[in-house]
């Protein structure tokens, strides 16, 4: 059902090759993503340590580079506790839901340009929908259920409060996030991420055209991913660990990975929407030309990941009512105003 937008290639190749290539791409992307997740954890620990003037993980491997592996192993072999009074089905389902949606949302993210591999050529992207952005939004919005259900199913007041906070917060910030993107969409005139990126050629990055939208997006994205300063769902000082208080071992790891996967997705989106995606100076031999865009892309995403950590250890946490008031009374009107202004300008230009 995904309708390919680029005419020639997929039409020419048979359904089987299409399936094979898709599978290969998916596996590759998921592998890369998980690795990225693991190492963003490592990155976070390192950077936070540095910010707090510590060393951070150093033992496992050089610079503790193997630390994530060790963590994974530890999670796998830890005992998986299941409290007696939890509502089992959802208690088990919740982390999976969170994980699945977090990973799925990467599927429409283009991280590179058109490449030719031998006889076939393909986009560096699992699927290209012409409503890609909407799909990302939809899937991330579905991600709420993981948190909410976890909080509810573990039948623990801290968890419940965490879940409630998470769901309420995500729902309310989803609004301003979506609205902040409208300005970009108006300029690009398309919902396909690839078109949006193409619209930013020659350094017409949306960060310059839509600064307000960018900041709105960034803030609401942090809220969406429950990151500081909006990490009230797992505010240690108030609710032991929020919605995953009762979780342990692999289930907990899934939440963990889901969170970081979401971060990656958001960073990718920010890159694509505001920083021109893979666009950048391209030169050199064809191989290099094929690799460079991906490199630019990764660099930009890395910057955002770093920004996440940086912000986390810089800003204090909101109070819940402040959070809500900020979301509804500041971000939302701002986003609407941004839309109006953008629309007026575009209409006047045309």
């Amino acid at each position: 059902m995904p309708r390919a937008r680029a005419p020639a290639p997929q039409d020419s190749m048979s359904i089987t090759t299409f399936a094979i290539i898709s599978i290969i791409k998916s596996l590759a992307v998921i592998g890369v993503l998980l690795t990225a997740v693991a190492y963003s954890v490592w990155l976070e620990r390192k950077v936070s340590a540095r910010i707090q003037n510590r060393w951070g993980p150093t033992r496992v491997g050089p610079f503790g580079l193997l630390q994530p592996l060790a963590d994974g192993v530890k999670f796998i072999f830890k005992e998986d506790l299941t409290q007696p009074h939890v509502y089992k089905p959802l208690y088990i389902a919740a982390p999976m839901i969170a994980m699945v949606f977090a990973i799925t949302s990467i599927s429409v993210i283009p991280f590179g340009n058109w490449v030719n591999i031998g006889p076939w050529g393909t986009y560096l992207q699992i699927t290209d929908l012409n409503i890609g952005l909407l799909v990302v939004l939809g899937i991330t919005s579905m991600g709420v259920y993981g948190v909410a259900l976890a909080g509810w199913a573990s039948n623990n007041k801290y968890s419940l409060l965490g879940g409630l906070r998470a769901s309420a917060q995500m729902v309310s910030y989803e609004v301003s996030l979506g609205l902040s993107l409208v300005g970009v969409l108006i300029i690009a005139g398309s919902l396909s991420l690839r078109n949006i990126v193409d619209a930013q050629r020659h350094l017409h990055w949306n960060i310059f055209l839509q600064p307000v939208a960018f900041f709105i997006y960034l803030i609401s994205a942090y809220a969406e991913t429950n990151r500081t300063p909006f990490d009230l769902p797992e505010a240690e000082s108030e609710l032991v660990a929020g919605y995953h208080t009762e979780y342990s071992a692999m289930k907990f790891a899934m939440f963990f990975m889901a969170e970081y996967a979401n971060m990656v997705t958001v960073a990718c989106l920010a890159t694509l929407l505001f920083f021109g995606g893979w666009l950048g100076p391209v030169f050199g031999p064809p191989l290099l030309q094929a690799v460079l865009p991906v490199l630019w892309f990764c660099l930009k995403v890395f910057f955002f990941m770093f920004l996440y950590v940086w912000v986390r250890w810089t800003l204090p946490r909101f109070r819940y009512d402040q959070l809500m008031a900020f979301g509804w009374k500041v971000l939302l009107p701002l986003a609407v105003a941004n839309i109006v202004v953008t629309a007026l300008i575009v209409a006047w230009r045309a």
Binding site: R3, L129, G138, M142, L164, S167
Partner: protein, 196 residues
């Protein structure tokens, strides 16, 4: 062929979710099954080519409305429903009536429905086309629905906001405290634990 297979696949998921909604005794399960139905309906929309509708279906319905339901269920800590015999009418008259109506409609559609058949992605409802239609032909209804939404928001706020008088009465009569976050006493934990 592929179309039919996909249709049957997601249709089956739909049916399963709908039936599950009925048989499940706990509202949270019903809510989840409803979410499943909606998601697979989005897939059906994609099959019909209405991709924008599908996306909005997921975002609005599954992502927003159902979240509201789930939040409410969590707020009110709704346990499994007790099977009270409140209404004989609903069972003795309503259910047969509904079934009869369903059978009649299905029979009419399958035997006498002179409707054609649709191809995969029959009507590409691309965002541009939708927008053009929505903001030209259907502009007035669009604005009216926006007003409707505004009114609905106000109504929801008014209804759900708790006047202080009610709050005091509840606290006096040992009702749960006004703030919903804090209403989850331990005995209820055990109680709700028994429910499952």
């Amino acid at each position: 062929m592929l179309h039919l297979i996909l249709f049957l696949f997601f249709g089956a998921i739909c049916v399963a979710g709908a039936v599950n909604l009925l048989v499940q005794s706990h509202p949270i399960n019903s809510a989840l099954s409803l979410i499943v139905v909606m998601a697979s309906l989005a897939a059906e929309y994609l099959l019909l080519g209405a991709e924008f509708v599908a996306a909005v279906q997921v975002i609005v319905y599954a992502g927003a409305i159902m979240v509201l339901f789930v939040i409410t269920i969590m707020l009110l800590n709704a346990g499994a429903e007790q099977h009270t015999k409140g209404s004989r009418v609903a069972i003795l008259i309503g259910v047969p009536g509904a079934l009869i109506g369903a059978v009649l409609v299905a029979w009419t559609l399958l035997t006498r429905g002179h409707t054609g058949s649709v191809a995969m992605g029959a009507l590409p409802g691309s965002p541009q086309d939708i927008a053009r239609l929505l903001f030209h032909e259907f502009l007035l209804p669009f604005e009216i629905t926006s007003v409707l939404i505004l009114i609905a928001i106000m109504g929801a706020v008014v209804l759900a906001s708790r006047p202080e008088a009610i709050a005091r009465r509840h606290t006096e009569s040992h009702q749960p405290d006004p703030l919903p976050q804090e209403r989850q006493p331990a005995p209820q934990l055990v109680g709700s634990g028994k429910e499952h």
